[in-house]
């Protein structure tokens, strides 16, 4: 059994390395992105083998799912930028990545005539041969040094005993949630700030294009979304709640809700109302602001920032996680849609 598992591990690692290699060596960007998503899903299996179901969940939802969606929509945007509609006099019409899977009739007709038109933008030059061996030497040498270093390390228990000893006062029954929202809550707060900052950064680069009405993409997708949306919301809330005693938590829940939002924006049959930018700004910041505001209590009452009173730890953690989930989901959808709302500049 042990040998079989070892064989599985070796095959999995070889598969991961092979997929990563094929992904980075690809000259077709679409293929590279699909391989990267595959890589993320294989990683999730590896995390299960390393007894980390929480991370596997997060990897599948965030690492493969959300990153994959962002990568695909980026490819779609690049395609529109590099293939401006021929015959148009002015600058190319604003690409609407969300609507691009149906496009307008002209584009469709042209694409049908010239099947390769879209793919030219998504290919890239192969790696030049010059400097191949020095790069191999650098990275190979680094890998060998790293492995040699890792081979010298012995098996320490890490901080597991310390966490186990303090679980009863953490307010939750799940080790990772206790670390994320109590023992190392500062990391988590800064991580929320990082998600927010990515959104702010993307907004600072420019406006997103107006969300236009578009022809209905057939009955299947909207129907499926209508079916899946409630399920996704229930799943998100379940993950949020389960985080206190089992794998799950704010980030996984936020990713699921964000994915639901992305699906909704893909399936929208008519133009969506552009949300009020003020509400949007407050929405994406609310999670971190709430976290910090509750944490200030500890600063004044002692002993330090982000201290939860013992008997209130569980409700406080749940409130914070709820705020974080909503802000994360909102930011992820905003990142998918692209730049800031044009109404913000009005």
């Amino acid at each position: 059994m042990n040998a079989a598992l070892l064989a599985f591990d070796v095959v999995l690692l070889a598969g991961l390395l092979g997929v990563a290699w094929r992904c980075l060596a690809s000259t077709d960007l679409f293929r590279a992105v699909v391989l990267f998503i595959t890589f993320g899903l294989l990683l999730a299996i590896a995390w299960v083998r390393l007894e980390a179901p929480d991370i596997a969940l997060a990897e599948a939802a965030i690492g493969a799912g959300i990153t994959g969606a962002l990568l695909l929509v980026t490819l779609e945007r690049l395609k529109h930028i590099m293939n401006p509609h021929r015959g148009d006099a002015g600058p190319s019409p604003p690409p609407d990545p969300v609507a691009s899977d149906t496009g307008n009739a002209d584009a469709e007709a042209r694409d049908a005539r010239d099947p390769g038109a879209g793919n030219v933008a998504l290919s890239c030059a192969p790696t030049p041969a010059r400097g191949r061996w020095s790069a191999v030497a650098v990275s190979g040498g680094l890998a060998l040094l790293l492995m040699a270093t890792l081979a010298t390390q012995d098996h320490g228990p890490g901080l597991q005993p310390a966490v186990a000893a303090h679980m009863d006062v953490s307010g939750v029954d799940h080790g990772i949630t206790a670390v994320l929202l109590n023992f190392r809550a500062w990391d988590t707060l800064l991580e929320l700030a990082m998600v927010l900052l990515a959104g702010l950064g993307a907004w600072s680069l420019g406006r997103h294009d107006a969300l236009p009405a578009r022809p209905a993409p057939g009955p299947v997708l909207p129907g499926a979304v209508r079916l899946l949306l409630p399920v996704a919301i229930v799943t998100g809330v379940y993950l949020l709640w389960a985080g206190s005693h089992a794998p799950g938590g704010a980030f996984q829940a936020g990713a699921v809700l964000g994915a639901a939002g992305i699906l909704m924006s893909l399936a929208r049959p008519h133009s969506l109302p552009d949300p009020d930018p003020r509400l949007l700004r407050i929405g994406v910041t609310a999670g971190a602001l709430l976290f910090l505001a509750l944490g200030l209590w500890g600063l004044f009452a002692g002993p330090a920032l982000l201290t939860w009173p013992r008997n209130l730890a569980y409700p406080l953690i749940l409130i914070i996680e709820t705020g974080a989930t909503l802000s994360i989901a909102l930011t992820l959808v905003a990142l998918f849609v692209g730049g800031r709302s044009p109404r913000e500049d009005a």
């Binding site: 990563a20 980390a52 991370i55 990897e59 680094l142 492995m147 994320l180």
Partner: protein, 115 residues
């Protein structure tokens, strides 16, 4: 030998290999999408080292290292999202998404005709 190769010992080696593979891609490839993917693969390598360390030995897995990885994944996806937005922005300005020559080689920073 086989007993000593529990996943916690084996996977960090894989993580080191992934890190180096990603670095290789980052140095060698020019297209920004591929470079961003390379950085993500490097990140996955680091996470694999962390999770391997968490699972070493017979004790239950170390929740701290796992929590750090979770944080790391979210930080990585944030940085990736911003990098992709910047790529699109660059492509709108220049019409391509390739950095030539790369940041790890030479650069053209001082064109005299710049306004």
């Amino acid at each position: 030998m086989i007993e000593s190769l529990d996943p916690g010992t084996l996977y960090p080696f894989g993580g080191a290999a992934l890190f180096a593979l990603g670095l290789h891609g980052l140095i060698r490839r020019r297209h920004l999408i591929l470079r961003i993917l390379a950085v993500n693969i490097m990140g996955s390598g680091v996470f694999m080292v962390f999770l391997g360390i968490a699972a070493r030995g017979d004790a239950p897995p170390d929740p701290v290292a796992q929590a750090l990885t979770l944080t790391g994944i979210v930080v990585a996806v944030s940085a990736t999202a911003f990098a992709l937005a910047l790529t699109v922005h660059l492509a709108r300005l220049t019409g391509h998404a390739v950095l030539l020559p790369g940041p790890l080689r030479t650069h053209r920073g001082n064109r005299p005709e710049d306004p």
